[in-house]
């Protein structure tokens, strides 16, 4: 597999707290890599490091096959666009002038493609309106447009849907999918919005306390996220005994509830429970989501 970005054993300290602790990560080419972790887990620190805004204390990362210690790293960074935390745009300039400024920073010979970029992010009708008068969603899209100047093949988005309304979230999602599918841009996207991320990502990296806990593909996640039935009963001891006798996989989650996996012979189970004076209070089906997977992984110590 070809990787756009890999990191091995990165460490970064702020005063006395460790922001990254032996951090390793692998982003395949063409993927939308969902970077998941709680506040302060080290997501933004890692993004700042690969953007060259901060230097790691130790460890290394490789961007397009070039190690961070090599001189060429500054050149290959030009192939990546980034929106770190907030969109990096001049608020007192129009959308067009922001893009022209970025064209100049990159030393592009002409302004060809500015209108296409504005169209792509849905800002072609902003005219002489300054960015400070834009909505949060418009600013975010302009930030992405600025990051797209120079046709990068790797886009880094740090919390791109933060503070956006539902319409804004949908627009950003569609934009990211369009960029990935139409332009084959690899995207690293960090987000707290796990539901939103699950609609986009092809790969996931879970980070906790400055370390990557687990990396997996969306397909692998799908396999891990199994359907289960949540059974609420009057006596879980009886339930456990009967489920064992039926060779069903389960786990008891409270005094009255258990998650049961696989196909359940409901009639047979209810009869068996009734025989031992155990009543079924409720049965409901549950899909394990990215959110519950994340909670299990980070909170449950399921570090594989």
């Amino acid at each position: 597999m070809e990787f756009i970005l890999t990191a091995e054993g990165l460490n970064k300290k702020y005063h006395h707290s460790k922001a990254l602790n032996n951090f390793s990560l692998h982003i395949p080419k063409g993927s939308i890599y969902g970077f998941v972790g709680e506040n302060g887990a080290g997501k933004t620190t890692f993004i700042r490091i690969i953007c060259g805004l901060q230097a790691p204390a130790s460890g290394s990362y490789t961007l397009y096959g070039v190690k961070n210690s090599e001189k060429e790293i500054t050149k290959v960074r030009q192939r990546a666009g980034a929106v770190v935390e907030s969109p990096s745009i001049y608020l007192d300039m129009t959308a067009i002038n922001n893009l022209k400024h970025q064209y100049q920073i990159l030393g592009l010979p002409s302004y060809d493609g500015i209108f296409e970029l504005l169209q792509l992010v849905g800002l072609s009708n902003t005219g002489r309106k300054r960015a400070k008068n834009f909505s949060l969603g418009m600013r975010q899209r302009l930030g992405i447009a600025v990051a797209l100047v120079g046709n990068p093949d790797f886009l880094i988005l740090d919390e791109p849907t933060n503070g956006l309304d539902p319409q804004g979230i949908i627009e950003i999602r569609e934009l990211i999918l369009r960029l990935n599918r139409q332009r084959q841009i690899t995207v690293l996207i960090s987000s707290h919005n796990l539901d939103e991320l699950s609609r986009l990502a092809t790969h996931y990296g879970f980070i906790a306390n400055g370390s990557i806990v687990k990396e997996l593909t969306a397909k692998e996640l799908e396999k891990s996220c199994r359907k289960c039935m949540i059974l609420t009963v009057t006596n879980t001891e009886v339930l456990a005994r009967i489920l064992d006798s039926m060779s069903l996989e389960y786990n008891i989650v409270s005094d009255t509830a258990a998650n049961v996996y696989g196909e359940i012979p409901v009639s047979e189970l209810s009869l068996a429970l009734a025989k031992d004076n155990c009543k079924i209070l409720s049965i409901r089906e549950q899909d394990e989501t990215l959110e519950s997977y994340y909670i299990n992984l980070i909170g449950g110590g399921k570090y594989e």
Binding site: C51, L53, V76, R77, P87, Q104, G107
Partner: protein, 263 residues
């Protein structure tokens, strides 16, 4: 660095603060000349363009401190400095491109003031009476002082990314140094003897005078004050101090900026 300079100048021409600064300096230049003209027509006073022509040297420190702070701090505040770094530019190039734009902008502020003196002043109160060579020396010296001032302001603003703190430090430091230098100038201006030959007890001599003279010549605010008074007695010394300040602040600024964690 040419790409960064091109981009910075693009932003400069579109910057409202810069345009306001240019307008203010032109207005100030014209206003001071007009005040002189009123002295001439109202009281018949013998006024010269010389008395207003170099006043920009006193004003430019404050104007530059405000402009540099607000122009540079936007880079941190709006996060646009990240675009430059991610685009693969070296931090040294980013630093110097910002310094150069600040210097050019400050020169243009001065030019705007001088232009107003020429356009309004020459028709109303005549040309300069001081020799051209002295005029050129004052202009050159004051420009070197402006470079030193811009180096200080650039260093402060590139190292402090707080939108509130950096401008306050620059503007307050500028005002304080002006007040301080004004006091030093007042002390140094005391004559050793009065007109009747009696000793002036307020006169400061010896080592203390040398120390005060050093401050007066070394501080950019002191240099500005001397240029505004058309005093070029210590111009070589002042230029050397300014060049020294420029080298030290730029070297320190680049060194620390290269190590700075940017958010």
């Amino acid at each position: 660095m040419s790409k960064l300079l091109y981009a910075n100048f693009f932003r400069l021409w579109k910057n409202r603060l810069f345009l306001i600064g240019l307008g203010f300096m032109f207005f100030a230049g014209g206003f001071l000349v007009f005040q002189q003209y009123r002295q001439l027509t109202g009281y018949g006073a013998a006024v010269k363009l010389d008395s207003t022509f170099f006043v920009y040297t006193v004003m430019i420190g404050v104007i530059s401190s405000i402009f540099c702070s607000l122009f540079l701090n936007v880079e941190y505040n709006d996060g646009t400095i990240r675009n430059k770094i991610t685009a693969g530019h070296k931090r040294t190039a980013i630093y110097f491109s910002n310094l150069i734009v600040n210097i050019i902008a400050s020169f243009l502020f001065c030019l705007s003031y001088i232009l107003a003196n020429i356009v309004v002043g020459i028709p109303l109160i005549g040309t300069l009476t001081i020799p051209l060579s002295k005029t050129v020396l004052i202009l050159t010296g004051s420009m070197i002082t402006i470079i030193a001032l811009c180096s200080i302001f650039t260093m402060i603003n590139m190292l402090i990314h707080s939108k509130a703190i950096a401008p306050i430090i620059c503007v307050t430091a500028m005002f304080l140094s002006i007040f301080f230098v004004n006091e030093v100038q007042r002390i140094l201006d005391n004559p050793q003897y009065w007109y009747d030959g009696s000793v002036n007890t307020a006169y400061v001599g010896g080592t203390k005078r040398k120390q005060l003279e050093f401050i007066y010549n070394a501080l950019p605010a002191g240099q500005e004050m001397q240029y505004s008074r058309k005093n070029i007695e210590n111009i070589n010394e002042m230029c050397l101090y300014s060049i020294g300040i420029t080298i030290i602040t730029s070297a320190a600024g680049v060194f620390l900026f290269r190590k700075k964690d940017i958010k």
